[in-house]
Point group: D2
Chain length 251, copies 4
């Protein structure tokens, strides 16, 4: 039994920081590093990559819409050719920076509104996938199982890696309960840890109606933007280890 823990890292900008990156890097095995479009200035990117390499944490390019003011959380109607070039630019920049500190980008995970959009929009999904394929066709795309971007990536021969969310409620169909609905986010740490363990060991999760739903995920996403979040992430990792799960990167 093996699971990866991934989290968003390097999401500061200039003087501003977000979360405790170093603490979180001691927990996760894959770091989704911001690429400069929603967060992440070059120096932050470089330091985050160096800290990840020191700890043996894998580096992913967390590509985004160009939207610093909105932290990449606002959906945008970007022309596919332009979106493709933007994703490519971000991916290349972070990969090049990572290589100077002894690492490299080993996967791609879209961020925020782009993540949600490419789960359902074939046009933007194609744009993202084309950028990854053009840059390096061996890079996996980390995302929601069953998403459009995964289908498109697989169709182009890119590896895909599925992730699950231990702190999110699931529908009986195996999709996430939308955030705006009550109970969508699970706050009780023990419950979150238990769900993470079952995701890794039984490859299943209890849906909102009490039914058991299969979860076929190689990675579990954790958060680090508050002190509580880092503690929870640490608890998830400890719970997994106690349950005999190997916490290992997928790349």
């Amino acid at each position: 039994m093996t699971i990866d823990l991934n989290a968003d890292l390097g999401e500061g900008y200039g003087i501003w920081t977000l979360g405790d990156d170093l603490a979180l890097l001691d927990v996760v095995t894959s770091a989704n590093v911001a690429c400069g479009f929603h967060a992440g200035d070059p120096l932050t990117i470089r330091r985050t990559c160096a800290a990840a390499v020191e700890r043996g944490v894998r580096i992913g390019a967390q590509v985004s819409y160009r939207d610093l003011a909105g932290f990449g959380r606002r959906e945008m109607e970007v022309d596919p050719e332009e979106l493709c070039a933007e994703v490519l630019y971000q991916l290349a920049a972070v990969d090049g920076v990572a290589r100077t500190v002894g690492g490299r980008v080993s996967y791609v995970k879209p961020h925020g509104a782009l993540y949600n959009r490419v789960c359902r929009d074939p046009e933007q999904a194609e744009a993202v996938v084309a950028a990854v394929a053009d840059y390096d066709g061996s890079l996996p795309v980390l995302g929601l199982p069953g998403s459009v971007v995964h289908r498109v990536a697989a169709g182009r021969g890119l590896p895909v890696v599925a992730e699950a969310f231990a702190d999110r409620a699931y529908t009986p169909a195996g999709t996430l309960v939308p955030r705006r609905e009550p109970g969508a986010v699970i706050h009780d740490p023990e419950t979150v840890v238990a769900r993470a363990v079952r995701m890794a060991t039984d490859r299943t999760v209890t849906a909102v109606d009490g039914s058991e739903v299969p979860v076929d995920a190689r990675s579990v996403c954790v958060h680090g933007d508050t002190p509580g979040a880092v503690r929870l992430a640490r608890a998830v990792r400890d719970g997994l280890v106690r349950a005999g799960v190997a916490v290992e990167a997928f790349t």
Copy 2:
């Protein structure tokens, strides 16, 4: 006798364009491609690289201060570690984009105020050179002969390539007459062409006091931001060819 012609390319941003890139790409042998910090959105970068590759024109990363509003023409007191990361980010981004269209970055040329600054400031010069060396120690730095950045680059084992300006007046010491002085820029096309030819054939230029000054340049910089500029660049190339000079990239 061989000379390279270099020019700034891809200096649009979004809807805005600057100069006739395609016409200029038919003239030069080395394209200093804007990297997104003073100009150059990802799609413009990609298209410019593709057009350069089609014509066999070499691609250079025209790295800059982060200053879109000022087109990179305003000197900035950037911390060296940050400047180094910024240069590295730009270089990696454009190199990665170039590779997807069959090219690659084969040299680096600082832009605008950064170009001027690293001619004299060892601290910022070190920062730029460190970025290039960290990324790929075989990449030449294109710049003014005798500049601090060339001295620093050579000290770290990077190749340096010197450029000259056919449309600029030279002092008897072989430096450029500052732009603010009268006669600093030469406008007469025939004179400019003749100076370019002598730079390539005699490796010399007539200074403002009438003396002959040695010019040890492997590249001549031309401009393309006006229709007249492109015509002049074309005339320089034609004059060089007529004089039996091989117009060839230095990489």
Copy 3:
């Protein structure tokens, strides 16, 4: 018979320019000045306002999504409270700049994707209208007749001013034929001029099916982003004057 001619002005940014602003300011009576979010740096804004004031041209705030790279042409899912603050910031900035050169903002026209969005989206329309109402409840909103933003503005007691497009095909229902459909844009100058004149004199336009449709517009929008566009705008103005129409601002 009176009509206003409005056009987008000041849409450069730093070194980049778009269109011949001074030529266009000699044609129009209302200048939609870019506010810095899709185009328009502060110095360009100030110079554009000064040139408008010199010519007696009214100044409007052409408020936009924050999207320099996309020229405000990409729809964005902006939170209404944030959009409201962004519109307010732009409006206040340009009004304050205009006042230092003897003018003031006398109307508001949303730009690009925001213009299209508030024609149909009550939430974003409310956000824009709230910003205008909070700043100065006497400022008219220039837009499409029958649009959601006009209904919302009228509901809050703001004046609304309707505009028409002489170079766009109309449906029998009086709406614009979408740009992606063939024949949506009319290129023949004589036809455009004739349509502008009939819009001003008969307050009517011939729809794509040959029917006559009422057009209740106090302003006609012209363009200036190409030399041909400025000539056409000039022809429209001359045609209107020859037909005895007074070309006058609505404010």
Copy 4:
């Protein structure tokens, strides 16, 4: 005996925050609100202004170089005409936003590198002062006593208000000891409070050589970017009140 306490407020951007603005607004009497160029998105500006108005805290425009990535802390060679337009744009934007929540900008304080630059550079000082004078010639410029910007402002008839720093060492000449020198910043809370009280009551401070130096300041600058900073600011205010000093805005 009356003193004002001023601090930088609203220095977040989008998702990022800096310091505890609400706690600090309960301490100070004048809020230097970021204007969007080094920090401060429109919604943050609006909320900060509203919170200031609720507490009777005066609002100042904390104008800056356009440098989000560097937080306005990097000196820039900006053309004076452009700098003037940039300052004017920022001032107008924040004033307009403040007015919609019942306040207004009642003074101007340059930020960071611009603050330092206009203390000594007449050209950039003129640009800043011209912007303020053009916008509203009754607005005071808050700054260092004896600075070039104060001299220039006074020369154009603008009111000037001097500030002092209770946590900074002073030279016998009454200037600040540069930050890079040892002992430049005083960390002991009791010492800082005592110095603030003497600045307000005796209008004097003990210089690094033990001599007493006159300090003619109507305002004392406090900081809020760390929890400790807010506590110290609160202690300074409490100390002043205990010493019988009226803590009141200068406008």
